[in-house]
Amino acid sequence: MKKVLIAVLTAFALSATSMAFAADATHDMAKDECMLASKGCLHEVDSIQQKLKKLNAEIKKGKKVYSAEELKKLEQKLKEANEILNSLEKPGGGGK
């Protein structure tokens, strides 16, 4: 029984490793969209426009997906995102 278990685990470990190598091989052949077009970069953050779009899309899903409390949180986040955009575009600056 013990031997069978070891055999199964070994087989699983090997297959996992090969899958990882296979994934690496595929990855090696893929274009690096981050280098090429600044897309899909690891740790990328949303622009304010992307954030607004995502929040609006989530709020649109409504009560089918989110509870009333969660929707309130999303709406608050949407308000904050709009405030960020307004603060960036806020006119003036004195200059005296």
């Binding site: 949303d46 426009q49 960020i84 003036g92 600056g93 005296k96």
Partner: protein
């Protein structure tokens, strides 16, 4: 022993994992870049930034406040009626970093780097400098740094240097200010309370101690949504200013402002407005001021028609001990409020103005003259990428006083209080996501308030043209 070592190792790993997740931050990084070409016989000329006053020691002084974008106020009195047109390229960048520990705690930071115009200076030290070849200037500005936290359910706290604006379309204050703002939300009711320190000149005053000579504000604000279509609100602000050399040489201001606002929507029509009553003392002069506003928006076909009306009270004789001029935050803080809903470019503050920021009516107080203005406009989107807008405005001072320029032909001030009529138009086109290019042009037919106030007649009607590239992310 072996077991306890293993347990310790597991616990250490567990603690390390917990600590890592506790310190994980959601990083938000946003910003703006804008460059604009300004062609104008108004902005960038001596009409909006007089040369320094000649003295015996310096009979031919250099340029005045215009080198920093202007002193805000249009002052054509005593200058040639015709001005060369200014050609300026102005540039601004803003960077915002937000470190969010969780939904209840974040640090907000906001910075700005301006060139008031390309070519102004290099190897310089100071805000808005460094636009000339070589650049290399120390010109980094910190706008706001504050903590935004929800310490308990239904309570939000903002602490630090934060953007804060009034509940009255910015006619009293709209600025970065240091303080504490607590706000809450109970169903349809949203109250807030704040204390702010505008300035502390104690160390430079005769008292020689920090915290004695200050300019402060206490605010109480409440909004109530009666229904989906009706919102009402009220606010109380107490301004107390005994600073020396900040908003005036030796200020003594105690001003109470109480205002109400409302917004009602019915079908395609939205009406909003406010009324503010002020009572207090400005440098020992009893002052009772008033401001009233009414705005409307009506959806018409593919567009939206807009109208705005604003009145702020003025004073014929601000030095007689009984003031009636609307008190807007003044002195060095003059630019720290602004009414933009009228969509003016020259007659009122321009929503597209950056460091170059001038207007015929620059502040709510308007040199103690107050204002009466009526404005109409129409927003017309053409397609998903192109939007346009058209506006017209008509404005006068509410009361004339010694600030009125003298008619150099008659040697007396003009009877008319009419400042002028503005027409403007804009078009905005989205080139890429986040990148917009806009053109906005404005022309003002000056009123008889300015008749023959220039040294050789009536000043030429001012115009302003801007071509703007703006990227936000």
């Amino acid at each position: 022993m072996k077991k306890s070592s293993a347990l310790a190792a597991v616990l250490t790993l567990g603690i390390a994992a917990t600590a890592t997740s506790a310190f994980a931050l959601e990083n938000e990084f946003h910003g703006l870049f804008s460059a604009r070409w300004i062609n104008s016989n108004f902005n960038g000329t001596q009409l909006t930034g007089l040369r320094d006053t000649p003295t015996l020691l310096n009979p031919t002084p250099g340029p005045g406040p215009q080198r920093y974008g202007g002193n805000g106020q249009y002052e054509p009195g005593g200058l040639p009626k015709t001005q060369y047109s200014a050609n300026i390229i102005e540039q601004r960048a803003r960077l915002q970093y937000i470190a969010k520990a969780n939904a209840d705690l974040k640090l907000v930071t906001h910075f700005e780097i301006d060139y008031v115009y390309w070519g102004n200076s290099s190897y310089a030290t100071g805000r808005n400098q460094g636009g000339a070849i070589g650049a290399d200037s120390v010109n980094f500005e910190t706008k706001s740094i504050y903590l935004d936290a929800n310490p308990c359910k239904n309570v939000n706290m903002k602490l630090g240097m934060m953007p804060n604006n009034d509940a009255f379309k910015g006619v009293m204050f709209d600025a970065d200010m240091a303080g504490l703002l607590l706000s809450s939300s109970y169903n349809s009711f949203t109250p807030s309370f704040g204390v702010f320190r505008f300035a502390d000149t104690g160390l430079f005053s005769s008292d020689n101690v920090i915290g004695h000579k200050t300019s402060d504000m206490v605010m109480l604000d409440g909004k109530f949504a009666v229904s989906k279509d009706l919102k009402v609100g009220g606010a109380y602000y107490l301004f107390r200013d005994n600073s020396q050399g900040f908003s005036g040489p030796n200020q003594d201001i105690k001003m109470n402002a109480l205002g109400v606002n409302a917004e009602v929507t019915g079908g395609p029509l939205t009406l909003n407005g406010f009324a503010i009553f002020e009572t207090g003392t400005v440098n020992k002069s009893y002052t009772n001021g008033f401001a009233g506003n009414l705005g409307a928006k009506l959806k018409v076909g593919p567009g939206t028609a807009r109208t705005e009306f604003l009145y702020t009270s003025g004073d014929n004789n601000p030095t007689d001990g009984h003031g009636s001029a609307f008190y807007g935050v003044t002195g060095q803080l003059n630019a720290e409020h602004g009414y933009y809903d009228n969509e003016m470019v020259i007659l009122g503050r321009d929503k597209n103005a950056y460091t170059t920021d001038n207007a015929i009516i620059f502040s709510s107080n308007n040199k103690n003259q107050g204002q009466i203005g009526g404005y109409i406009g129409f927003d017309l989107p053409i397609n998903a990428k192109l939007t346009t807008a058209f506006n017209a405005g008509f404005a006068a001072v509410a009361k004339d006083n010694s600030s009125k320029p003298i008619n150099l032909k008659t040697g007396a001030v003009n009877k008319s209080n009419y400042l002028g009529t503005e027409i403007n138009a804009e078009a905005n086109y989205q080139l890429l996501e986040g990148l917009t290019t806009s053109v906005r042009t404005a022309y003002v037919v000056l009123g008889d308030y300015y008749k023959d106030v220039a040294i050789n007649g009536t000043p030429e009607n001012p115009y302003d043209f801007k071509l703007i590239f703006k990227y936000t992310f």
